[in-house]
Amino acid sequence: MLRLLKIEWNKIFYYKATRTFTILYFLILVVIGVILGNIKPEIGGIKLNIAKLGTFDFPEIWQNITYLVAIAKIFIAVIIITNITNEYSNRTLKQNLIDGMSKKEFLSSKVMVNVIFALLSSVFVFGIALVLGKIFSSSGENPMKNVEFVVYYFLKLNLFFSICLFLAIWLRKTAFAFLGLIVLWMGEGAITLVEVLTRAWIGTGLENINPEAFNYTSYLPLNVSSNLIKAPRINPEGFVMGGTIFGIRETEISYVIAALIYMLIFTGLSYWLLKKRDL
């Protein structure tokens, strides 16, 4: 296993582009944390202090931060996808196999890279949220309450990366893999919309759609990813009362299970493609 990681290290770290993006990614995570603690935007003449809105209060901070920084995962998606598509365009996958690496080893090394990126990101995010919370939290809650959002974040990244892995192996070209991601994203959006509208039309009527209602389409891969960490609940009354405006929205266990199943499916499909295809 260590051998496979060392091989991947050579492939990723000694490539200037991926090295730069990796470093940049972790810097961005830290910078987001620093900026969040310091910006005081002015909206309509009223100075808003993000830190004072209860953004960084335990336990809400765990959801707020993991929800916010999840977008940065696209950086790692670029690295993961190019790292794999390069193996096709440089024909090094073929050479690796000829040199005696098995297809299983090849896939494991790529999966390990995904897990490590997800793990490092989670550690960073955990650290940032903890520090921000220690500085700004005024709630007096136990800091470790709702820390499971970091675990959801870890899962969310792994799910997303396994989708990237599959698309990269399937489509073999960087541009197409990203196009695949966009198609999946828009496709899921369209299907979700159809379901929501149809249900409303049959049931409650189009004018009063219940956003909390159950939808099968919530279990499509990217929807599962966004449902792992939902947008924090915002209640303006809380703010008026002088407290926090954010509230925790729990993640249902069914999304955790769905994420794990999808990860298995995408990794399995990747392996099947590798096995089946001639190089």
Binding site: N10, T92, L97, G100
Partner: protein
């Protein structure tokens, strides 16, 4: 003799196209084998299958007497088509990856770079290399684990004469060390120069498999001319020992079906009152033999 590789009834179909058709042959230890055939005859597909990158439709093969597995590949060094490396990595980093895959010690890297003459360039990125240097690096990579078998697919393709000579020298040096070599090529000349055995492929079928020097039982042919070729032609027909006599314009070509010395032919014709102004005895080149074999089977 110990068989390093045994291929049995190997077949590969790409849709309707049969790239390799029921191919069987075996490779003995210590010999240099040529896999000869025109472009598209199934050479690379065959090598791809025995190297685990192409899934066979049917058939089986055995490396070192065992059903192929990843471990046996680590005892083989192979270069397929053109050199495949990470363009953004230095020669050294690239070889580190190969060494880690094959389980060879890093100390081999310098040693092999030295052999192919790339030691001074080890810190340079692969993409800055010329084709000849890339090909040499590929040989260094293939030699990293001191393989028992070396597989080369068109190793001199696209190289300049100097590059070709340098690659051939390296191959001959490796062969002299007792390494079994399988060399795929469409260049007969190359196979003739380097190989002891040859397997000729065409459209995925084996046409010939055996020693290079036993490839053709041909005795060669004469090129003759006289003042009057008509009379010469008639005279040649009276002499036994020719398989075919044809008029090539300025001279006649008489293909032998038994051994005959030039002086014997000259004497016989002189006795018949014909004086030759041109007499050459030739052996078919491997190229013509190859064409003959290909044509006979069609």
């Amino acid at each position: 003799m110990e068989n390093v590789l045994e291929i049995k009834n190997l077949t590969k179909k790409f849709g309707r196209l049969t790239a390799v058709n029921d191919l069987s042959f075996s490779v003995e230890k210590g010999n240099v084998y040529g896999l000869l055939g025109p472009n598209g005859s199934g050479k690379s597909t065959t090598l791809g299958m025995i190297l685990n990158v192409i899934n066979p439709t049917e058939g089986s093969w055995y490396w070192f007497g065992k059903k192929s597995d990843v471990e046996s590949l680590k005892r083989i060094g192979a270069i397929i088509e053109h050199p495949n490396f990470y363009p953004y990595l230095s020669a050294e980093k690239n070889l580190e990856i190969t060494a880690m895959i094959k389980g060879a010690p890093f100390s081999k890297i310098e040693e092999k770079l030295e052999i192919v003459g790339l030691l001074e360039r080890k810190k340079d990125k692969f993409r800055t290399f010329s084709l000849g240097m890339k090909q040499r690096l590929a040989i260094a990579a293939a030699m990293l684990n001191d393989p028992e078998v070396l597989i080369l697919d068109e190793p001199t393709n696209g190289l300049d004469p100097q590059g070709i000579i340098s690659i051939r020298n390296i191959i001959q040096k490796i062969a002299a060390g007792g390494t079994t070599i399988i060399l795929a090529s469409h260049l007969l000349d190359e196979v003739e120069k380097v190989c002891s055995h040859v397997v000729i492929l065409e459209k995925g079928k084996t046409l010939y498999s055996g020693r290079v020097d036993e490839m053709s039982a041909s005795f060669g042919y004469f090129e003759v001319a006289a003042a009057n070729n008509e009379i010469l032609l008639n005279a040649l027909h009276e002499i036994s020992g020719f398989e075919k006599i044809s008029n090539e314009g300025t001279h006649l070509k008489a293909i032998l079906n038994r051994d005959m010395a030039s002086e014997d032919l000259n004497r016989t014709l002189f006795e018949k009152g014909i004086v030759l102004n041109h007499l050459v005895k030739r052996k078919e080149s491997l190229e013509t033999q190859f064409l003959q074999i290909t044509q006979n089977k069609n």
